[in-house]
C-alpha cells in the first residue's frame, strides 16, 4: 500500500515534467459507492463509478443530452406502444464475448429486482411490458401506454453480460466475477472503504481509453481531500468546499473546474396536514397549520434573499433558483423569474393571511448532504426571523434525516433534488405531484402538496411524444406549482472539481465524477 502510494506520486512527478499519452489516475470521491453492482442501488456515486465499466444503450453527455451508446439508432415504431433500438455491432465484453440483444433482454429482466436493493431502478423500467428480440442487433420494447421518456429512462440502465452475470448476486459483482461490461475500463479490484481499481480495456469500441488505470478512493472529509490534492497523492478531487475555492484558484499547482448541476436545493413545506408538528403560536400553543395558505408559503419564499444566500453563504458558487431546473434544461419555463427579495411584501402577505404577529417554527435540514446545507438553512432561518417568524434550526445526521423526512416528521425541511433524467418531469413527478406512490407519483412529496391542475398537465406531458408540446406542458405545470409555492426553490448547486496542474475536468450537470471526463491539458 505504502510503496504503491510512493510509486503513484513518483509517477505524478515524472509526468508533470514530461506529459505522455498514458498514465494512472487517482480520484478522490466525497462519498463512497455502496457496490460495483450497477443495478443494486440507484445512487449518484454508484452510477458514476459503474459508468466506467458498463454502458447504457444511450449515453448522457456532460449536459445530460442523449447520445448513442450501445444503441446506434432508436425511435418509436409506427405503433406508438413499441420502441425499436438498433444495437452497435462491433462491441465485445471485457471477456471477449460479443454484445447482442440477448444481453439487453437479460439486463431489463435483472435490473428492476436485485435482492435487498435500497433504491432500485424499477421506476425506469416498469413501463416496459415485453422485450422482443428481433435479431442479434435489434430489440423492441413494448409498453402499455406511450412512453416518450423511454430513451431518457434507458440511459440510466447499465447493460450487463448475460454469460457472466446470469444468476449472479450483488456479492458476485463486488468480487469482480460478474463485473464484466463493455465500457472503456475493466474491473481490477474493489476494497470497500478503501479503493476501487480499474484498468483500460484494449478492445473498447470507442475512443481508446485515456488512462492506463483508474483508482477511486473515498475520502469523506473535505479538508482531507483537498490536502490530498495539494500533497500530490490525489490527481482529481470532487466536491471542493466553497471555502477553499478562492485560495485554490490562486494555487498554481492545482486547477479548479466548475459546472452547473441539475440539483435544486429547495425548502419543502407541509402544506397538507391541519396541524403540523413544529409550528405553533409564539406562546407555544397549537395553531392550525399556516402553510396550507399559499400566501404564507409565498411570504416565506419572498423573505428569502437568494442573492445573499448565494453570495454570502455559497461564496458566489451557486445560482439563485426560481424553479426546479436551471435554464437550458428541457421543460424549464422561460417566464419564471427568481423571486426578488421583498421582506415588506412578505410581512403584508403574512398579515393578509392573519399572521401579522408571526408564529414559531422549527426547520430541519441534513448535516452535510449538500454543499453548505447547514449554513444555508441557518441563513434562511435568519431571513424568516426578520419577517417575524420565530425560527429555530435543527440539523440532523444524513443517515437518519431522509428517513425521518419521509415519515413526515418535519413541517419545514431543506432538501435537494437532482433530475436524473435531465428534464423537468423528474422533479415535478417526484416532489410536487399528488402523493400516489404506487403509480410513481409524489414518491418524494414530503410536503404532500397537491394541485389537480398541475397533476393533469404533468400526466398529459408524460404521455405526449411530441417534444415541443411536452416542453410547453412541463413549463406550464412548473409555472402553476411555482405560482402556488408548492415548494420554495433556493438555489441550484454548482459543483467544483479540483485537479492537479496539467489536467482538466469537464464538469457534468449530473454531478458524476468520471475518469473519462479527465483530460490532460496540452
Amino acid at each position: 500500500m505504502r510503496s504503491r502510494l510512493l510509486m503513484a506520486s513518483a509517477f505524478v512527478v515524472s509526468f508533470a515534467a514530461a506529459p505522455a499519452a498514458a498514465e494512472d489516475l487517482t480520484i478522490a470521491l466525497a462519498s463512497e459507492p455502496t457496490s460495483v453492482d450497477p443495478h443494486y442501488h440507484n445512487l449518484t456515486p454508484n452510477n458514476a463509478l459503474t459508468r466506467h465499466i458498463f454502458e447504457p444503450l444511450i449515453k448522457q453527455d456532460e449536459n445530460q443530452s442523449l447520445e448513442p451508446g450501445l444503441a446506434t439508432e432508436w425511435g418509436v415504431t409506427d405503433d406508438p406502444l413499441v420502441w425499436e433500438f438498433k444495437l452497435r455491432e462491433d462491441v465485445t465484453f471485457h471477456d471477449g464475448t460479443p454484445f447482442t440483444a440477448e444481453d439487453v433482454a437479460f439486463t431489463i429482466e435483472r435490473a428492476p429486482d436485485v435482492p435487498n436493493s435500497p433504491s432500485s431502478f424499477s421506476l425506469y423500467i416498469n413501463d416496459i411490458s415485453e422485450v422482443e428480440i428481433v435479431d442479434d442487433h435489434t430489440v423492441r420494447f413494448h409498453t402499455e401506454e406511450p412512453v416518450p421518456l423511454m430513451a431518457n429512462n434507458l440511459s440510466t440502465i447499465a447493460i450487463i453480460s448475460k454469460k457472466n452475470a446470469e444468476g449472479a448476486s450483488t456479492e458476485d459483482f463486488n468480487s469482480g466475477e460478474a463485473t464484466v461490461g463493455t465500457g472503456p475500463y475493466q474491473f481490477a479490484s474493489y476494497t470497500p472503504g478503501e479503493e476501487v481499481e480499474m484498468e483500460a480495456y484494449d478492445g473498447y469500441w470507442g475512443d481508446e481509453p485515456q488512462w492506463d488505470s483508474l483508482t477511486f478512493r473515498p475520502i469523506t472529509s473535505a479538508s482531507a481531500r483537498v490536502a490530498g490534492l495539494l500533497s500530490g497523492d490525489i490527481d482529481v478531487v470532487e466536491a471542493v468546499p466553497t471555502n477553499d475555492v478562492a485560495s485554490l484558484e490562486e494555487n498554481e499547482d492545482v486547477s479548479i473546474w466548475q459546472g452547473i448541476s441539475n440539483r435544486v436545493i429547495y425548502i419543502h413545506l407541509d402544506s397538507d396536514r391541519e396541524v403540523t408538528p413544529q409550528i405553533t403560536a409564539k406562546d407555544g400553543s397549537e395553531i392550525e397549520n399556516p402553510l396550507r395558505d399559499s400566501r404564507v408559503r409565498k411570504a416565506l419564499s419572498l423573505a428569502l434573499d437568494r442573492e445573499s444566500i448565494v453570495e454570502d453563504v455559497m461564496e458566489g458558487i451557486a445560482i439563485p433558483a426560481g424553479q426546479l431546473l436551471p435554464e437550458g434544461f428541457f421543460g424549464v419555463s422561460e417566464d419564471i423569474e427568481v423571486p426578488e427579495y421583498q421582506p415588506e411584501r412578505a410581512k403584508e402577505l403574512l398579515a393578509e393571511a392573519g399572521y401579522e404577529d408571526g408564529f414559531k417554527m422549527t426547520v430541519h435540514g441534513p448535516a452535510g448532504r449538500y454543499i453548505n446545507d447547514e449554513q444555508v438553512l441557518q441563513a434562511a432561518a435568519q431571513m424568516w426571523s426578520r419577517i417575524g417568524i420565530e425560527t429555530e434550526v435543527e440539523t440532523i445526521p444524513v443517515s437518519v434525516y431522509f428517513g425521518r423526512a419521509s415519515d413526515l416528521e418535519f413541517s419545514v425541511m431543506l432538501v435537494g433534488w437532482g433530475a436524473g433524467s435531465g428534464e423537468a418531469s423528474s422533479p415535478l413527478r417526484a416532489l410536487l405531484a399528488t402523493y400516489e406512490p404506487d403509480a410513481g407519483f409524489g414518491a418524494t412529496n414530503r410536503g404532500r402538496y397537491s394541485n389537480e391542475e398541475m397533476d393533469s398537465l404533468l400526466k398529459e406531458a408524460l404521455v405526449t411524444v411530441d417534444n415541443d408540446k411536452r416542453q410547453d406542458l412541463l413549463a406550464e405545470a412548473t409555472e402553476i406549482a411555482m405560482e402556488d409555492v408548492g415548494l420554495i426553490p433556493v438555489h441550484f448547486q454548482v459543483n467544483t472539481w479540483g485537479t492537479r496542474d496539467g489536467l482538466k475536468y469537464i464538469p457534468r450537470t449530473d454531478e458524476y465524477t468520471l475518469g473519462t471526463s479527465v483530460r490532460p491539458t496540452d
Binding site: S223, A227, N243, Q378, A379, V393, P397
Partner: protein, 430 residues
C-alpha cells in the same frame, strides 16, 4: 485534616485574627502563578455572567445576526447593503431603433437615465446610455451587472459570469456597447442593468471578526463561555453531590454495600467519559440540559471514588468512634461529622473535573452532538471554524480555541494550587 497543626510563617495578618480560611487564602496567594490563574478565572466568570450586557450583539438571536456580514476579518466593519438601482432597458424588435427614458428604482446613484438602441445588423444591436449625473459613474467601484440577455447572447464589453447568465461590465464601458444575439433570435428583449454603489454605511465593527453566519465572534465567545462555564459548574455540582452521597454511603456502610457500589463505580470508570457522553447524547439529542445530564452520568463516579477514599480515612478516626459512642444517628455522623472533613479533597477533584467537563462539552459540540447550531458553544464555534482554516480564515476557530484554552488552564492552575494548599502531604516548604 489537621490544618491547625501546620506551621505558619511570615505573618502578614495578626495571629489573633487568623482563621483556617484566611490561612488557606494566604497560602494560596503565595504562588504567583495561581494568583494570576485565579484573577483570569474571575475575569472570565465575570465576562460570562455579564455577557448580555458586555457583548455588542446577542449571537443567539437570529434577528440580530446578519448573514450579509459573514466571514469578516477581525477589525472589519459590517456595512449596510449598498444602495443599488436597476435600469430596465426595453429593446424593441429587430430592424428598429429606439430611445426611451428609463424608469429608475431609486435616486442613487443616478437621477435620470436615457437609453437608445439601434439594430446595426440582423442579430446585432448597439445600445448607448446617457446617465445623469455622469460623474456618479466614477463612484461605482463595482462592475455593473447586465441581466436579461437572451440565452447565448454576447456583449461587446465586460465579461460573462462563469456560470450565471449575466455580464459584468466596468462603469466606464457601460455607456456604449453592442449585443450580439444568437443565430435565429427574433424580437426584442429587456436588458436589466444593476448599478450598485461601492460600499454601504458602517453598521458595526467586528473586532474579532465574524463567523460563517455573520455572528460577531467576540459576542459569540462571551456567550460560548457562558454556556461552557454554566454547563461545567452545574454538571460538576450535581455530579459532586451524587458522588459524595454514594461515596460516603459506601465508606460508612462498608462490607457488601461498599463492594457493590464500588464495583458499579469501577464499571463506570472502565468506559471513557467521552464514550459514555457521546452515547447518551446520541440518544437524548441536543441542548444544554441534555449535555449537563450526560456529563453528570459520565462523571459522578470520579467524585464517588474520591469521596469514598476520603470517607474511609475519616471513618477510622477517633472522633467518629466518639460520635458512635454517643449513639448519634448514622445520618448525623455521616453528614455532620464525616462530610465536612471530606470536603477539601472533593474541592480539588471538583475543580479538575469542572475543567474536564468544560473540555468534554467542547468536544461533544465539536463532534456536532452538544449544543444546537444556532446556539454555538466554544466547541461548536471551533468546529465551524475548522472548515475555514485551509482558506486562511483563522479567526473563526482560533479565538474561541484560545478562550477555551485560557479558561481550562486558569481552572487547572487554581485547582492545582488548592490541592497543594489543602493537602498537607503535598505541601512544599516555602
Amino acid at each position: 485534616m489537621t490544618i491547625q497543626e501546620t506551621q505558619v510563617q511570615d505573618e502578614v495578618v495578626p495571629p489573633a485574627k487568623d482563621t483556617p480560611f484566611r490561612r488557606t487564602l494566604r497560602e494560596f496567594a503565595a504562588s504567583r502563578v495561581a494568583v494570576v490563574g485565579a484573577v483570569v478565572l474571575l475575569l472570565i466568570i465575570f465576562a460570562a455572567v455579564f455577557a448580555p450586557w458586555i457583548a455588542p450583539q446577542n449571537p443567539y438571536d437570529l434577528n440580530e445576526i446578519r448573514v450579509e456580514h459573514s466571514r469578516l476579518e477581525p477589525g472589519a466593519a459590517g456595512r449596510a447593503d449598498p444602495e443599488s438601482q436597476s435600469l430596465p432597458v426595453p429593446i424593441s424588435g429587430e430592424g428598429e431603433s429606439g430611445r426611451e427614458t428609463l424608469e429608475l428604482s431609486g435616486s442613487v446613484p443616478f437621477e435620470s437615465a436615457e437609453a437608445s438602441w439601434e439594430w446595426v445588423a440582423p442579430e446585432r444591436v448597439a445600445v448607448s446610455l446617457d446617465l445623469q449625473p455622469e460623474q456618479n459613474l466614477k463612484t461605482l467601484e463595482q462592475e455593473l451587472r447586465v441581466e436579461g440577455l437572451p440565452r447565448g447572447a454576447e456583449l461587446s464589453v465586460g465579461e460573462k459570469h462563469d456560470f450565471r447568465n449575466f455580464w459584468l461590465v466596468a462603469p466606464d464601458e457601460i455607456t456604449a456597447f453592442e449585443v450580439q444575439l444568437p443565430e435565429g433570435h427574433e424580437g426584442g428583449f429587456e436588458l436589466e442593468i444593476r448599478a450598485q454603489q461601492a460600499e454601504g454605511e458602517i453598521e458595526q465593527v467586528y473586532w474579532l471578526g465574524t463567523d460563517g453566519q455573520g455572528r460577531d465572534m467576540f459576542s459569540a465567545i462571551l456567550y460560548g463561555l457562558r454556556i461552557s462555564i454554566s454547563v461545567g459548574v452545574f454538571s460538576g455540582a450535581l455530579a459532586l453531590t451524587i458522588g459524595l452521597v454514594v461515596g460516603l454511603t459506601a465508606a460508612y456502610a462498608g462490607g457488601r454495600i461498599d463492594a457493590l457500589i464500588m464495583r458499579i463505580v469501577d464499571l463506570q470508570l472502565s468506559f471513557p467519559a467521552i464514550l459514555v457522553a457521546l452515547l447518551l447524547l446520541a440518544i437524548l439529542g441536543r441542548g444544554p440540559d441534555k449535555v449537563i445530564l450526560a456529563l453528570v452520568i459520565a462523571q459522578w463516579a470520579y467524585y464517588a471514588r474520591t469521596a469514598r477514599s476520603a470517607g474511609l480515612v475519616e471513618r477510622s478516626k477517633e472522633y467518629i468512634e466518639a460520635a458512635r459512642c454517643l449513639a448519634l444517628s448514622r445520618w448525623r455522623i455521616v453528614l455532620r461529622h464525616m462530610l465536612p472533613n471530606c470536603i477539601p479533597p472533593m474541592i480539588v477533584v471538583g475543580t479538575v473535573q469542572v475543567a474536564n467537563a468544560i473540555a468534554l462539552e467542547a468536544t461533544l459540540s465539536f463532534l456536532g452532538l452538544g449544543m444546537p447550531q444556532t446556539e454555538p458553544s466554544l466547541g461548536l464555534l471551533i468546529s465551524n471554524g475548522f472548515d475555514y482554516l485551509l482558506s486562511g480564515r483563522y479567526w473563526i476557530s482560533v479565538f474561541p480555541g484560545i478562550a477555551l484554552l485560557v479558561t481550562i488552564v486558569a481552572i487547572n492552575l487554581v485547582g492545582d494550587r488548592l490541592r497543594e494548599v489543602l493537602n498537607p502531604r503535598m505541601r512544599r516548604d516555602e
